[in-house]
Symmetry: C2
Subunit: 453 residues, 2 copies
Amino acid sequence: MEEKMTVDKIKQLLTERKLAELKDLVGDLHPADFSEIAEELSPAELIEIFKLIPDREKIAEYISMLPFELQSDLLKAMSKEQASEVLTEMDTDEAVDLLAEIPPEESREFLELLPKDEAAEIKELMKYQENTAGSIMNNEFVALPEHLTAAQAIEYIRQMSPEAEMIYYVYVLDQKKRLIGVLSLRDLIVADPQKKITQIMEEDVISVLDTEDREVAARLISDYDFLAIPVINKQGIMVGIITVDDIIDVLEEEVTEDIHKMVGSAEFYYEDRLIKTSSLQRAKARLPWLMVCLVGQMISGKIIEIHSGILQLVLALSFFIPIIMDMGGNIGSQSSTITVRGLATGQLRLHEMWQNVWTETKVGFFIGLLTSAIILPITYFWQKDYFLSITISIAAFITAILAATTGTLLPLIFTKLKIDPAIAAGPFITTINDIINLTVYFGLATFLFSYLR
Amino acid sequence: MEEKMTVDKIKQLLTERKLAELKDLVGDLHPADFSEIAEELSPAELIEIFKLIPDREKIAEYISMLPFELQSDLLKAMSKEQASEVLTEMDTDEAVDLLAEIPPEESREFLELLPKDEAAEIKELMKYQENTAGSIMNNEFVALPEHLTAAQAIEYIRQMSPEAEMIYYVYVLDQKKRLIGVLSLRDLIVADPQKKITQIMEEDVISVLDTEDREVAARLISDYDFLAIPVINKQGIMVGIITVDDIIDVLEEEVTEDIHKMVGSAEFYYEDRLIKTSSLQRAKARLPWLMVCLVGQMISGKIIEIHSGILQLVLALSFFIPIIMDMGGNIGSQSSTITVRGLATGQLRLHEMWQNVWTETKVGFFIGLLTSAIILPITYFWQKDYFLSITISIAAFITAILAATTGTLLPLIFTKLKIDPAIAAGPFITTINDIINLTVYFGLATFLFSYLR
């Protein structure tokens, strides 16, 4: 592995104090590669390495790829002047993330190191609530005054380029800093150099409000194939941009959160390495839903107890509890998961709700039909009791239909009630289905065995 | 809703034959907005609308947002000449997708409409297997010969701009068309105009092989925050680029596939609307795993039957089957899902396997401890049998630990064996856990009740 070789090489150069060679090696790495390597190095080694890199911007890029705690430790190990420079060079959204995640006293200390205006900007950004568009934006965008020509605009971008994160979209602001148009660098390059930018710009700018959910920004960038989207405040003043690379991270995080919710786990916080979360953190995230389900399981037990008369008579009924419970659970999870994912990607819309419930009911019908056709001969061969076999087959058939229907219906109802449908998938559906299906199974058995046999 | 208003307006203008006004309205829409609206219109209405748009490129952009079947119908409704022009204007990756998805005879007809070289290019791209990097790339990139200066390169880009999908990264090729460097438009704009591009370019180009899995390309773009990645063939010749917007779609599709697999469903094909898949398609995707699990459920039943002696003696043991089964199922699904997602995002690595299994075992321990502490008094209060309560508590405790451990271990073993770990989550884990946990439960009960009471 190449990465392994680089790590070994770095450690060797450090031990042998071949610092010039080391400087060349690490100064050339891409930040993403650096972060891979940094995982294998100790904080002390990292501090030594950062001392070798004269370029503050490079250090800032490298450091912002590391876990927040380590970022904070490394900054504290630097001279005040150097730490201040590195923080200033960091993308504002990265600096804000860092300062929001570390203890308040530490973040206050870092803020004091910064120039006044920079500190004020960061404090402003730190006010945004988690998961809002404002919380993931940065303010390193190119804003043009409206009177420029295309040629002047390109010259302006050339000068702004070192500071701006994204120069391929540029925004035109009026005197009150309100967003009035957008241009791509492509438009500018192709345009007649003497043309006014106001003549070239697109005036219908698709933007997102700073207080909006960050998922809205993600959805817009993804639907419109944008490289970035401008963020405005209530007054229409442009306050930042969100770039497509931040959006990919948002989409991945949201999906992880959804997937965890689907199995009844809150997302326990892990910035980049799952292994760093302790067993206690993980247990805490999962316990609430497991406890709710425990109540449901007791109810299921109570239902069996209520029917213990028939169970005493036909003990073999208990052998088929796993089929009824698991079939209901599996089909219900499938239906709810497909529905939840469809809603999340926009491939299923709320107005298609009843049509989707009906389709899934038919799915349950087909699956139930096939399953009971298989169960009937097998259980007969096993228990030699055609009455029992028929009971189980009918119960399995009904279970499949009910599970598919409730599995689809519940997430949709949750969405209507503005509750996150993801929590309706998985354990919750399974527990509800158990209660319903065990009632059907034992109710049916009691009826058939007591009245018909 | 704005979208609804636009649809009504379009329909009204069509009926009233106010075609000039209609032309202005639809000619100005963003393709993403158009696709939303197109869903509400009939194919006949769409054909009429396309007749009003003189700009073939606009039609190509609009049409490539629609479902493939509809794309094909619309192209067939056009004159041969127009269809050919629209196909030529489509991004190659979109044209290839279309021609690959429609029946071969239709796609052959369309290919015959195209200019020879264009048709040859598309045929070349259609050879790539699904899910490879080659299958999602397009060939509308800017390739520069190595002798240019920065100023000449900008001029070159200006001319290429209408044809290239992505002009913000430009690639330097040698005479044999091998990729030797990459530059961003930003580098070019900032650079001294007289400097050779070979002096400015980055020589260590991160690229992807055309036959590689498309997920590799997605991962690279996402890790390195690229806007595009070049695709090369085995000879090092640059054959295309993959852009970040295509990657977002790939990531979403892969996640949907993973999520479906986690509940034991193959991904039934749906291009953009879930509702369009029939109940039969859905049932077919889900049946295989349900049938596998049915076998497991029979084995679980058999385990209960083997212990029917103790069940006859203590019928109340059956009331707690739901607790044992569901607890095992839920905890197992949580552990496996967290593991599978961690592997998919790279937040869990294979060399951390044993550490992760150990952490999850401890999670099972904590959850088991708390659950059995709750179960003990409740079951005693319910059944007034301290021996039974102790049995169930111990079984629940062991179940929690075993479920967490197997739930984590199985996906990791699957990964080692190069089997997709997603199928180890959900129904499969639940079934395995049922067999293990029912064995423990009834084994323990038989032992305690037969030998100690």
